[in-house]
């Protein structure tokens, strides 16, 4: 058993990859044209003012010096101060992260649960009309263009029918009138519905298809035949034997499909003005707010790398055949 060695190796690997991303990101930001003040078109601002601002941001230092400061700060837990908001990046991220986590976890969880459930049924009735309808709809969900779907939901459910708020996370009028906590929670959930629906539908498609194919491959396994031979009821075989085993790769694929979800999450947040990390990243990037954009991106990279690490380790732990 070379397990500890393997884990160590994996950890080192993730560390190296992360460092490479960290470095690449720094040079990408510094070598690109433009800087945080290049967008300011205020004739009141003299070139001396601009030079002063640049100097105060520490952007006039030699590149390598900036880089060393950047790396040192990162490893001592100083993520810097946002150029745009003038607030420590860590505060901003914590502030935004809670909204992203709320949206992301609920939509992923719901989509996975429903996707596993429907995928199971589709696979069980393979080839039937039900299966065809479900597979095709899942395919359609999977290839839907997220922003368009989000805008349509906004237009129909939000605007035409007026069922849901059109953006933001809460209704200020409700909050300043000191509404009870439960009302506030429900208010946030009400705002959550549209972005949640968008991400749910998109994710549902991929989970359903994944579950279906995973279930089909499980159904071919010997132990299902054994179970059948033992005379167990079809329902028991489906739910207890097949589905449970087929669902696990779907659950772990949450980790693997994280990158895809992040893309979709950024778009959804942008459309529904959901003040999460994805929207902030887009905003920071278009403002040349280096510290904030870097931190947002590194956070995303870190989450993705860790999720993959966990999946890898899980497989290694479960499958003794994997050695390094």
């Amino acid at each position: 058993m070379a397990k500890p060695g393997y884990i160590l190796l994996k950890l080192v690997e993730v560390g190296v990859i992360f460092f490479v991303i960290l470095t690449a990101l720094f040079f990408l930001f510094r070598l690109s044209p433009g800087d945080p003040i290049s967008k300011m078109v205020d004739p009141m601002l003299t070139p001396e003012d601009m030079a002063h601002l640049i100097q105060q941001m520490g952007l006039d230092r030699p590149m390598w010096e900036q880089y060393l400061i950047y790396v040192k700060n990162f490893f001592t837990g100083h993520f810097g101060v946002s150029f745009h908001y003038g607030e420590p990046v860590a505060n901003i991220i914590v502030d935004k992260l809670k909204w992203t986590i709320l949206l992301f976890t609920t939509s992923t969880f719901l989509a996975a649960v429903v996707g596993v459930f429907l995928g199971k049924i589709a696979a069980w009735h393979k080839g039937s009309r039900l299966d065809n309808v479900m597979s095709i709809s899942a395919l359609v969900c999977y290839t839907l263009f997220i922003p368009w779907f989000a805008l349509l939901l906004l237009w129909i459910l939000g605007f035409k029918l007026g069922l849901f708020p059109l953006g933001g996370v809460l209704s200020p009028a409700l909050w300043i009138s000191n509404a009870p906590l439960i009302v506030r929670i429900l208010d946030v959930l009400h705002h959550l519905m549209l972005p949640l629906m968008t991400l749910f539908v998109i994710n549902l498609g991929s989970y359903l298809l994944l579950m279906r194919s995973s279930m089909l491959s499980v159904l071919r396994e010997d132990y299902i035949l054994t179970a059948r031979a033992k005379g167990l009821s079809e329902k028991v075989i489906r739910n207890k034997h097949a589905a449970r085993n087929a669902a696990l790769p779907v659950i772990t694929s949450v980790g693997l499909s994280l990158a895809f979800s992040i893309n979709g999450g950024a778009l959804t947040e942008q459309i529904f003005t959901w003040p999460g990390i994805g929207r902030e990243l887009i905003f920071a990037v278009s403002n040349n707010d280096y510290p904030l954009a870097q931190a947002c991106f590194l956070l995303i990279a870190l989450v993705v790398l860790c999720a993959n690490l966990i999946v890898d380790l899980l497989y290694a732990w479960l499958d003794p055949r994997i050695t390094y």
Binding site: M44, L186, L189, L210, R244, R279, N288
Partner: protein, 587 residues
């Protein structure tokens, strides 16, 4: 998917957890029902707030950092200057100052008497605060203020409410630029400044300082700020203008609470306006929404002139636009009427001089005008004639010998060289459709003269980098949405000393005569004399055309008339401190 399928085996042994799908689903449906039920009956009870929509989150409540429009909207209710412009006459009137500043020409001093004002915590506003603010500008080289305040040699507090400013030299912009700086409280900032000055990067430290409750003298103060959602401001009981008549307006404020709702997009904010969720949306409304809003009797639309400049700029450093005649010919074929009609949908004015017409005192209306009153055919003929006289030639000229227009080809410079293809840079259509389409139209008009013009939309910061940073361009369409009412920017835009990368003279205009005037007007205190100089400068620009002004859109704003009335209209719209001091609830 295939890959994941192959990895299924290891999980066969794992049978520990049951997936409870039905209970979860049931819970979700229940939750949905509760939410739907709750919101069908909520939203009836509302406190008497003035509700204003903001398009974006303010950058910061720290006045040294919050220089964006949204932060300014909030902070300008809190931090006040000594003088400000009257909304109607646009003259400088005393604000935190008690009366007009007394100028002593011999000593070069301004004596300013201060009002008996109080900060919102109840402490007195005194000369010490003015001196402190001045010192702060100097110590931290605060952008936008520092350079103007440099004209001040020394400030002396005669008593608690009298301050004397000693100037190094006469300054034309003492009132409009120096005295309009916001005054800050010594109490609030002294400690922070001390700490900041001890650091390596004082300005950055100062700007990054977290201000939770800004201390000001203005009509409102901050009550609560829920990031990403709203800002709640309440009336400042110590506001010096309360019940006072300043510039023949009797100030309130007449509302106790303002709620600023932060929206991410205009769509949502305008819908909120229509639903009556907000009383005013503090942003310019695009003409696309107007048809819909005009129908609504609950909504008032406010059309005001804007102190703005949208123009076609040329690169005078290189061929082909280093030739004045060519620039004049281009100006002749540009159909401002068309731009106004089609691109602005008639919500604006054609612009003839660099200083907008809304700025009545400084605008020179007798500058040279191009193509005035001509139809397209005459324009092309006139421009063609100008070019022919200057030695330009064509393979097929735009005007045939019998006077009819033809499709021209191969325009040649007076030197006999072929005119190289050139690019008119514009911002992308999503940033500003008006400028993007103006660029496209200009391209079409220039092609009628046989010029190889190509309009190209470019992401805004690359555009600035190319035009302002590198000077690597032929022509561009840009603009300033909020131009200062003092015409000092003429000197910034066109003085040859500003012809450096990243500096304001983007065209590379160099005219010693203009430079002389630009220098001289800076220290001309006599308004009428300075006005004449500014007029002459405008005339020079419109003769040489480094920039060719195109249009000046109206600012269009919308308010709901059911709950509040009394918005104060001025150049740049109703979004100003006067409005918030004057708006009253309607019964």
């Amino acid at each position: 998917m295939g890959q994941i399928g192959k990895r299924t085996n290891p999980f066969r042994q794992l049978r520990n957890r049951e997936f409870r799908i039905y209970p979860v689903l049931r819970a979700v449906v229940m939750l949905g029902l509760i939410v739907a039920g709750l919101f069908s009956c909520s939203g009836s009870k509302e406190p008497p707030f003035l509700k204003i929509g903001l398009p974006e989150e303010p950058r910061s409540l720290n006045i040294w950092l919050g220089t964006d429009a949204n932060s300014r909207n909030i902070l300008s209710q809190i931090y006040q200057p000594l003088f400000r412009r009257h909304p109607e006459t646009l003259e400088m009137i005393p604000w935190l100052a008690k009366e007009d500043a007394v100028f002593n020409e011999k000593e070069l001093t301004y004596t300013v008497r201060l009002r008996e004002a109080k900060w919102s915590d109840g402490s007195d506003f005194t000369s010490a605060d003015v001196l402190f603010t001045r010192q702060l500008f100097a110590d931290f080289k605060i952008p936008r203020y520092y350079s103007h305040w440099q004209v001040i040699e020394n400030v002396v507090a005669v008593d608690d409410h009298t301050v004397v400013f000693h100037l190094k030299e006469p300054s034309a912009v003492f009132l409009p630029r120096v005295m309009t700086a916001p005054m800050v409280s010594k109490k609030e900032w002294e400690q922070v400044c001390k700490e900041a000055l001890a650091t390596e990067k004082p300005l950055r430290f100062l700007q990054d300082y977290q201000v939770d409750t800004p201390l000001g003298t203005g009509p409102f103060m901050l009550h609560e700020y829920q990031k990403g959602a709203y800002i709640h401001m309440i009336r400042n009981p110590h506001f010096f203008g309360l019940g006072q008549t300043i510039g023949n307006l009797t100030l309130g404020p007449y509302v106790d609470h303002i709620l600023f709702n932060i929206y991410g997009t205009s769509d949502v904010a305008i819908l909120a306006l229509k639903k009556g969720d907000i009383d005013y949306y503090w942003w310019d409304i695009q003409p696309g929404y107007l048809k819909d809003l005009e129908k609504d009797s609950d909504i008032d639309l406010h059309y005001n002139k804007k102190s703005a400049l949208y123009y076609l700029g040329f690169n005078l450093r290189k061929s082909p636009f280093n030739d004045k005649t060519l620039r004049q010919a281009v100006a002749t074929v540009v159909d401002k009427g068309f731009i106004l009609d089609r691109i602005l949908q008639n919500h604006g004015n054609p612009m003839h001089s660099i200083v907008p017409a809304g700025n009545r005192f400084w605008h020179n209306q007798d500058v040279r005008k191009y193509g005035e009153g001509m139809d397209q055919k005459t324009r092309i003929k006139a421009a063609w004639q100008m070019l022919v006289d200057a030695g330009y030639s064509w393979e097929t000229p735009p005007v045939a010998s019998d006077g009819t227009l033809t499709k021209p080809s191969d325009i040649r410079l007076p030197s006999g060289e072929k005119m190289e293809k050139f690019v008119i840079l514009t911002p992308p259509a999503d940033y500003d459709p008006k400028r993007a389409f103006a660029g496209t139209m200009i391209q079409e008009w220039l092609r009628l003269l046989g010029m190889p013009a190509f309009a190209r939309p470019m992401a805004f910061n690359s555009l600035l980098e190319t035009v302002k940073g590198k000077h690597d361009f032929d022509a561009f369409v840009l603009g300033y949405g909020k131009l200062d009412l003092d015409p000092g920017y003429l000197a910034s835009f066109f003085s040859s000393k500003n012809d450096n990368p990243r500096d304001w003279n983007m065209s590379g205009y160099r005219n010693p005569e203009f430079d002389k005037l630009a220098e001289k007007q800076k220290s001309t205190v006599d308004l009428q004399v300075r006005r004449q100089m500014i007029f002459d400068m405008q005339a020079m620009i419109l003769e040489d055309i480094p920039y060719y002004p195109l249009y000046n859109p109206h600012i269009i704003e919308a308010t709901v008339n059911k709950r509040f009335a009394g918005w104060v209209e001025r150049v740049d719209g109703i979004g100003n401190i006067w409005s918030l001091c004057m708006v009253k609830p309607v019964d």
